[in-house]
Symmetry: C2
Subunit: 421 residues, 2 copies
């Protein structure tokens, strides 16, 4: 069954925003079994929205639209749909009340601008929005079902999964199965080389790659005569992918790298302390954005200045002066200091040059020393030089630090450690 995606917004046609919504929806719709034939994007112009909608609806069984449902004057999607259908807008009292309550919860009063978000084309199937003010809606245009959702990704994804998916699932041809895995430690081209030939060995499968820096997501999509046959070949191909990639696969689509590390620490029953310098709190942020970090994280001492390294972690100022703040010696002392003052079982320390300035011939921008103080009292330091700009270097260093913790909790063969950087 064919379907199309329509994205609405001048911020998209002007290129101010990369349209990740369309790619996300295309992935989901493909996984449901639809053949997605077109992803169109138009600006916030009533007549162009109407024209695109009529055109897509005449050729596809389902059209999924995002954007233009906000409260401001440039949000004209709802009016355009009413025009296309030749119906009036009607205010929905239930939606109005939900918007009012949501605004009150945040201490705000509803204005006419907000109330506009409770207007829908007459006869529309309203899709409540539990995480924002703009509800979505569905309408029938000829033989096509069209669904309209807000453009805010967090609101759109929830509305699509919870409300649109159940409404359209029956329209899809259910002969597809997909699996997704997240990997860290190999560049995309090497992941591709390691998986060469799998599509031929498992007919009906397609291997897809998506880079979410610095991770590579691998997808296995299988098509067969029936859904159970598709699932069977997908599972066999996925097992082959996992076997070839080994420890580079750290989890499923919904796992985060830091979340996996957190689970591993929790499983060991170890508490953690961190001492950061060049990464400036990013390791702590990655671990604590996942719920439950308080089970293992005691302290993250971001000792940015040398004086803080000395005062907070008790590092001898002569050590810093003699070896420099970016050195194996200081990294080790940071880890040992963080472990001692926090009483944690394990400590990770990072010190380096994130750039753009501060690099030298001996220690160019990207140089990072990573120290790991283990429960058995030993401390190791690794020296790495990461490529890229400041935030990339900070991100790669943070991943490398988390990888050390992952390897400590779940030792793997040496060949499976990171090859990036």
């Amino acid at each position: 069954m064919t379907c199309a995606v329509l994205s609405i917004g001048t911020e998209l046609t002007r290129g101010e925003l990369v349209n990740s919504n369309a790619a996300w929806l295309a992935t989901e719709l493909t996984a449901l079994g639809f053949e997605v034939v077109e992803l169109d994007t138009v600006d916030d112009d009533r007549s162009r929205i109407v024209a695109a909608l009529e055109r897509l609806a005449s050729g596809a069984r389902v059209v999924v639209c995002t954007g233009g449902l906000g409260p401001t004057t440039d949000d004209v999607t709802t009016e355009a749909v009413a025009n296309a259908l030749g119906v009036r807008l009607a205010r929905d009292e239930v939606s109005l009340e939900l918007i009012r309550r949501r605004l009150e919860k945040f201490g705000r009063t509803m204005t006419e601008t907000n109330a506009k978000q409770a207007d829908f084309p007459e006869g529309a199937d309203i899709l409540p929005n539990p995480v924002g003010t703009a509800p979505g809606f569905g309408v029938r245009i000829g033989e096509c079902m069209a669904y309209f959702m807000p453009g805010v990704p967090r609101e759109m994804t929830k509305m699509f999964l919870d409300q649109v998916t159940p409404r359209i699932r029956a329209l899809a041809s259910n002969n597809l199965h997909q699996s997704r895995m997240r990997t860290f430690g190999l560049p995309e081209s090497v992941v591709g080389e390691k998986l060469a030939g799998i599509e031929q060995d498992f007919p009906g499968t397609t291997i897809g790659y998506r880079a979410h820096f610095p991770e590579i997501e691998v997808k296995v999509l299988a098509r067969a005569a029936s859904h159970s046959a598709a699932r069977e070949v997908c599972e066999r191909a996925t097992a082959e992918v996992r076997a070839r990639l080994g420890g580079y696969v750290f989890g499923d689509a919904d796992d985060s790298f830091a979340g996996v590390v957190g689970r591993a620490l929790r499983a060991k029953g170890w508490t953690l302390a961190i001492a950061e310098s060049c990464t400036g709190g990013l390791v702590g942020h990655m671990l604590t954005r996942e719920p439950g970090a308080s089970d293992f994280l005691l302290l993250d001492a971001v000792t940015y200045a040398n004086s803080a390294k000395a005062r907070v972690l008790g590092i001898d100022e002569d050590t810093i002066r003699w070896h420099g703040a970016v050195s194996s010696e200081v990294a080790a002392a940071m880890a040992v200091g963080a472990k001692r003052i926090s009483g944690a079982d394990v400590a990770l320390a990072l010190t380096g040059v994130a750039g753009p300035s501060g690099g030298g011939e001996q220690k160019p921008v990207g140089t990072v020393f990573l120290a790991l103080a283990r429960p058995d009292g030993t401390t190791d330091v690794k020296h790495r030089v990461f490529p890229g700009e400041r935030l990339q270097i900070q991100t790669l260093a943070s991943y490398a630090g988390l990888q050390l913790l992952r390897e400590l909790c779940t030792p793997r063969p040496a060949e499976r450690t990171s090859e990036i950087g």
Copy 2:
């Protein structure tokens, strides 16, 4: 002058790739003065490519296309264009020789598959590709100029800048001017209300809004008879926007909130210490992802466990036991402790409940205490309850903390402080 972008590729319609090419081209075309009205994407299907091309060419003066010029069988763009024009494919000997040489340079022999990339619709304007094997080309379709480029971003961007831009520049109307501002502290609907009427007061202007949680970006786009007239009305409208939004505007499109706070601290010559709990390092990460944070940031003590609050910041354990870790008293003690141990001029502390668990009736999820220890020795605590899920609460709390620093450095009337949360 209107233009459109057509992206071709099943990897795009299946969502395996986010279409960053289209956003890049839209930005470039807008900057050249074109009004980009549509970004369409179709799969590698001859008839759909032809239909999209004919449709876009009938409505736009320029259509820029990417993808489907590769050597494999699923690359059918060139054939589709020849079909649309009703002409034959002709092999170009110059392009063939360049492809042969390029392959030889990499130690490869040209096959018929490669040679296919030297075929073009008869009469096409060939665009050489110095960084890849697939040349591009331009054709006239009715009143429209259409250009076809490879989908590989590195090859596409070079071909567009070096070869397409000079060919289309004269077609662009250079009568646009745009300004962009970033705001924090007001929800989108309130920003919209404050700016109501500006489009009418300054004819030719359009106000656009874009949410980058928790910021709202405001754009003023002006169209006039000439570029200088557009700039003039844009500047006047922008001044009015800034006057109405006051201190909620924190910078231009390229400024980050943390970067603005860092600049303000640097201007004052103040050093900073932070003590975080519920935000887990996010405040430190936001400040240190900007270059030059070492000018002012001494320490960010992420004292996640109560024991760390006591050991690192020297907070009396009875204070924590008596008032709870999430309390005005502990927030104040964290700020005072961070200031004392680091020797910084200013200290910011945050302690709260980021959720999803840990909330109670007195201190629900979202409760955050923010303490500011000032250079004059005074310390204040603010109590807030932020809405949303874990990462949203952490983000709002971090912004609120940075906002306290911003206000300390550049005092503003009370009415201009944050209204979010």
